[in-house]
Symmetry: C2
Subunit: 294 residues, 2 copies
């Protein structure tokens, strides 16, 4: 049980974490801060936070648990704003989709206090963002990746594990480097491809007519193209090295498919498709409670 959760960044992720902790009875009080005062006020009005803080530092004051839920490129500036109040007894976590840059920023800014920081990436999201979409069940039946540093307090890593497990997450640990390589492949590249694909259809002369004909396959394939621009700008920029590597792999596979199409080699095309199709049919999203995905 925490006395006070400080949420910095009252959006979908931060707001949902506050609601999930309240629902699980894990926190007495939630203080929130967002760069935009109207967002902080909306979070308070919606009951997601109890008290609006006027600065990031004030959201840390008196909190024994602090969640950074800002776009990853804002991590360093936010850590600078709060570092004076980060001290033993405070557990600091983030929810960023990239981890190398976040961990580097934490090392640079927090220095000898970096042991308080448990870097976290919950594998969840929605194609809608903002505090109005906060959801107490956003983290239920999902995975969360912790990427602790060598200096991270082992007791805090256990405490973080317990908190995420209590709101329904399966907790995994890996290095920031492995995390970023894996998520470039299974999350960041698909977002890049979805943005590129949707834009390429929409901006062509007959785009509007074409879009009126699109069906359920298109709908699901492009769902993530509606994701938050600021968050994804930061993710694509910060992990670009790994993402560009994955994009090269993808282009090679696409080249191979197009090559057999151009040759008119139906048999080879069927083999390539069958291979992908069978593997995808056999894949299932990991979930701590099988069949319990929402």
């Amino acid at each position: 049980m925490f006395n006070q959760l400080g949420v910095i960044g009252c959006g979908l992720m931060g707001g949902s974490f506050a609601l999930a902790l309240k629902r699980a009875g894990l926190v007495k009080r939630v203080v929130g801060y967002s760069k935009s005062p109207s967002t902080t006020e909306k979070a308070r009005r919606l009951g997601v936070i109890d008290t609006a803080a006027e600065s990031a530092l004030l959201a840390v004051s008196g909190s024994d648990l602090v969640l950074l839920a800002v776009p990853v490129a804002a991590t360093e500036a936010t850590l600078k704003a709060i570092r004076h109040l980060v001290e033993p007894g405070v557990m600091l976590m983030d929810v960023g989709s990239t981890k190398r840059d976040v961990v580097d920023a934490a090392r640079r800014v927090l220095k000898d206090k970096v042991g308080c920081f448990v870097p976290a990436h919950p594998i969840t999201g929605k194609e809608v963002s903002g505090i109005e979409n906060a959801d107490a069940y956003l983290y239920a039946n999902r995975q969360v990746i912790l990427t602790p540093l060598a200096q991270t307090d082992a007791a805090l890593v256990q405490k973080a594990t317990d908190v995420w497990a209590a709101i329904g997450c399966q907790v995994l640990k890996m290095s920031p480097e492995n995390h970023d390589a894996a998520f470039a492949a299974v999350s960041h590249l698909p977002h890049l491809l979805a943005f590129a694909y949707f834009a390429s259809v929409a901006k062509q002369p007959a785009g509007r007519d074409f879009l009126s004909l699109a069906g359920p396959g298109f709908r699901d394939f492009t769902r993530i193209a509606a994701s938050d621009p600021v968050m994804w700008r930061d993710v694509l920029m910060s992990n670009r090295e790994e993402i560009l590597k994955q994009s090269q792999r993808f282009r090679h596979t696409l080249d191979a498919l197009e090559h057999v199409m151009k040759l008119g080699n139906s048999e080879a095309l069927e083999d390539l498709i069958r291979n992908a199709s069978e593997m995808r049919a056999g894949w299932q999203m990991s979930s701590p409670k099988p069949g319990g995905s929402r």
Copy 2:
């Protein structure tokens, strides 16, 4: 009301059409044929068809409505097998995802009987195939595109419109050429990209580990990569000219995104993403009954 529906190809599309017509009380009897006798037998056992025919020709015998629901590359051979029984009084339709090749095959094979043929493409599907997944509601709240020829009997076009409308479809008409250009963009290319993307992740050395970390965004983005290999081999091959054109457009847009990532131009990247994101957020799948999608 039809006396007898002949379904050639007892798979997801053909089976669902039979179930939908039965449910709407539009047909007295359904005769079915599949290349594999065990499939035809399964369709009969499941009650999707009433009688198993031993050949495509026998499925046409006595039918006043015939649905061709075979992979598009099998259209020409199937039409040859049945043409002797295609005569005035029989309405022949297909459900192929491409239309230029189907219409060309019909012209070549049916010659002066081509007026009986109403080419159709219902915009629906599942990532699972086969008669065991047939669903009386597969066509409900979906669009169907008819691409009649100049020689198609106008009364049959009206009759086809009525049948599809009766099972819940919004009926649109367009030329085979416009159809194929549009569906290259909104359906065929996404399938190609999904096959390529899933294969490129799965086949890399750490692919198995990466796949175990993938979340809901990945799940939806790759759903169509599990589609039927034979059906999609034919679609990609038959409409490859338009699909390759669309792929070029997509690659240009992807190049532009990667270019600003490489330059480190966050602002330009955000603009490109925001553009796609806002357009996608404003897009909704067309549906005859808004909000009624299944």
